[in-house]
């Protein structure tokens, strides 16, 4: 699986050298056991209710990767977000669907897209209805409050 090996090289290099784009977002990212399972720790983007907290992501590469997208989940019961199932950590993001995925993207792209999703939740396709409803009502105090409540409990 030389594609995964290549990505491993790139990721370690990026993290070591402190790439401008990724080092703000990614605290750490490394493979578990073999190169088909990865864990990443990402920083809550500034200017969001997630600021100041780190979140764990689990990535796994299907056999057909990169022709098929990787499976990506947050740690269960850890990410209160309109497009994340709080219980399972599942993420609703179109680039992670087989239909929208492009083999030209890699794991760094994926993590970056998830960072962007934390910044810009999409309330129209919610996996967490409570948060999506507050977002639709545009009640920022309640939004921050609810996210913080979830994170602390």
């Amino acid at each position: 699986m030389s594609r995964a090996a290549k990505e491993y090289k790139t990721i370690t290099k990026v993290l070591k050298e402190g790439d401008e784009v990724y080092s703000q977002l990614i605290v750490g990212m490394e493979p578990k056991e073999d190169l088909t399972r990865w864990e990443a720790l990402i920083r809550g983007p500034s200017g969001t209710p997630y600021e100041g907290c780190n979140f764990r992501l689990h990535l796994s590469l299907p056999q057909e990767y990169p022709m098929s997208p990787p499976y990506v989940k947050f740690e269960p019961y850890a990410m209160p977000h309109a497009n994340v199932d709080f219980r399972t950590g599942e993420i609703c993001l179109d680039i992670l669907t087989k239909q929208h995925w492009s083999p030209a993207w890699d794991l760094l792209h994926v993590v970056q897209a998830i960072g962007q999703l934390l910044d810009e939740p999409v309330s129209s396709s919610p996996l967490n209805v409570d948060i999506a409803n507050i977002l639709k009502a545009n009640d920022m105090n309640a939004y921050y409050g609810l996210v913080h409540y979830y994170i602390k409990s």
Partner: protein, 545 residues
């Protein structure tokens, strides 16, 4: 290979073809689809009223020339399907197509549009695909956006076509598979170059989605010739096919797949307005594909007149829901209520006579037969109780009532299947007439016609039990309807008997009897259908959960 212009000679004209498509009714393989639990029952009913009409395609896009002619040259066609159409109803104008024929007509449109766009046909094809083959919307946005539209659709606007195509084998590092090998590569004008294997894999995964396939790293579109060049075969045909399929999904108002297993026919209804009229009159919209499969355009189910789509839907749902209870009732209601001896119930009559104690009772309510009178099957006691509200309907009795109608329904379904078997022998008989006594093929057709009439009668009879089940039993029109069922039932039985005759000489001798009996079945069928429609129109028969 996909030179659009040179293809023109192969293009099939879109003609109103329904006269031909219904002639082929005696295909015996269809019999499987007449059963409730066959493939039909698995087809989710379409909701005609809420299906999208937003981007409904105007049929003039296909055949603006033919359309007017159709109305002039073919006014209402007098075909055998008139039996099912009431005279006052507009006849359905439809054609039977394949995805290839639809695509061919799209290609013709592309050819016509070329002067508007001044683009190569391949590019217009991409634009059409992007707009789900909705030419009107495409033209609208084209006048507004022009170049932006091209960019959005992934078409190269630079005017250069450098670097597009498959490149010869060389040492190449592919950023997708990360292999450094001797390989052919492909790239578009954007220069995003990948090995041919990665591209093949990528395209193969997408051929069935019907969407425009783009460069793996940007939004430039791959044209059909690119796809075929990469895949080394006519793979773009598959993409076009799936694109047309998604077009059909989006226009389910006017395009429907033939629901028969493995049938590739698509019925295109040319005049969706008449559908509303049909719906208002509780008449069903039956169409026949070129393979001879008839079905309801409204709900995708088999021909179900006199029931309308709603009654049909409720009836089928109920049959599935009550499946287990039904078996219980059907197997436990054969006991004589007085002496508990098992009794064989024969046919549709509810008048049970115990073979042991001679007790006469009603199969539906289990009560004495005496107060029931001589109705064809109506349980008079049930009706009377209903009227006087003396005793509330017990669930058991309600189920028995349903079980009765369901049984009648399936009995006619079974008979219809036997008729199909009969159909196979009718073919031999016609041959026999020709060979043994020199009857011409045309002359022998009265046999085939009779069989067809018999089948239509049976189907009407079968579905009439769904209508009767939902009818108010105390209403006078319901009684008339039931009388009509009885008359058609007798007519069908006697025609069926006639068709059992084997000797060619006897058949020819009794030929006028065939004409008469078939004619009678036709009239009775028509009367029953009209009466059923009346029941629905007047709200006397109403589908309920």
């Amino acid at each position: 290979m996909t030179d659009l212009e040179s293809d023109d000679s192969l293009l099939l004209e879109f003609e109103d073809d329904d006269s031909e498509s219904i002639s082929n009714i005696d295909a015996p393989t269809d019999s499987k689809a007449t059963h409730l639990d066959s493939d039909f029952a698995n087809i989710p009913p379409h909701n005609v009223d809420t299906d999208d009409s937003e981007f409904d395609i105007d049929e003039s896009q296909f055949s603006e020339d033919d359309l007017e002619d159709d109305y002039l040259v073919f006014p209402i066609k007098k075909t055998t399907k008139d039996l099912l159409d009431e005279d006052s109803l507009p006849s359905l104008k439809y054609e039977c197509l394949t995805t290839q024929e639809i695509f061919d007509s799209m290609k013709r449109r592309v050819h016509h549009l070329q002067p508007v766009f001044s683009l190569p046909p391949q590019d217009i094809l991409i634009l059409m695909q992007r707009y789900d083959w909705n030419e009107e919307r495409l033209l609208e946005e084209w006048t507004e956006k022009m170049d932006n539209l091209l960019i959005e659709s992934g078409l190269n606007t630079s005017g250069e076509s450098d670097g597009r195509g498959v490149k010869n084998g060389k040492e190449f590092f592919c950023p997708i598979c990360c292999e450094e090998i001797l390989t052919e590569t492909f790239s578009l004008e954007c220069g995003h170059e990948y090995c041919i294997d990665c591209y093949r894999h990528y395209i193969k995964d997408r051929l069935n989605h019907g969407k425009i396939i783009t460069c793996m790293d940007c939004s430039l579109a791959l044209k059909n010739e690119d796809i075929d060049q990469i895949m080394g075969g006519a793979s773009s045909v598959k993409l076009m096919d799936s694109s047309i399929k998604s077009f059909i999904r989006k226009h389910s108002n006017s395009y429907k797949w033939c629901p028969y297993t493995d049938c590739k026919c698509i019925i295109h209804l040319k005049d969706t307005l008449s559908l509303q009229e049909y719906s208002r009159l509780h008449a069903s919209r039956f169409v026949t594909c070129s393979m001879g499969h008839s079905f309801c355009f409204g709900c995708g189910f088999e021909i179900h007149a006199p029931a309308d789509c709603r009654v049909t839907d409720q009836w089928v749902k109920k049959a599935r829901l009550e499946c287990e209870n039904l078996n219980w009732v059907l197997s436990h209601t054969k006991e004589c209520p007085r002496c508990s001896v098992n009794i064989e119930k024969n046919g549709g009559c509810n008048h049970m006579v115990c073979s042991s104690c001679r007790h006469e009772f009603c199969w539906i309510c289990g009560g004495d037969w005496a107060p029931h009178g001589s109705s064809f099957y109506q349980c008079a006691i049930y009706k009377n109780e209903d009227k006087n509200k003396l005793v509330a309907d017990t669930p058991k009795k309600t189920l028995r009532r349903y079980a009765f109608f369901y049984k009648m329904f399936t009995e006619h379904e079974v008979s219809a299947k036997l008729d199909w078997k009969l159909g196979e022998t009718v073919g031999f008989k016609v041959k026999g007439l020709q060979e043994k006594i020199g009857v011409s093929w045309i002359e022998g057709q009265f046999l085939t016609e009779s069989l067809k009439t018999l089948n239509e009668g049976r189907t009407a009879l079968k579905w009439s039990f769904a209508v009767a089940y939902y009818s108010d039993p105390s209403h006078n029109l319901t009684k008339i309807f039931i009388d009509n069922q009885g008359l058609l039932s007798n007519a069908v039985e006697s025609l069926s008997e006639l068709l059992q005759i084997k000797s060619p000489e006897v058949i020819m001798k009794r030929r006028t009897e065939f004409y008469n009996k078939a004619g009678y079945v036709k009239n009775r069928t028509k009367a029953l259908l009209e009466c059923g429609r009346d029941l629905l129109r007047k709200g006397i028969s109403k589908a309920r959960e």
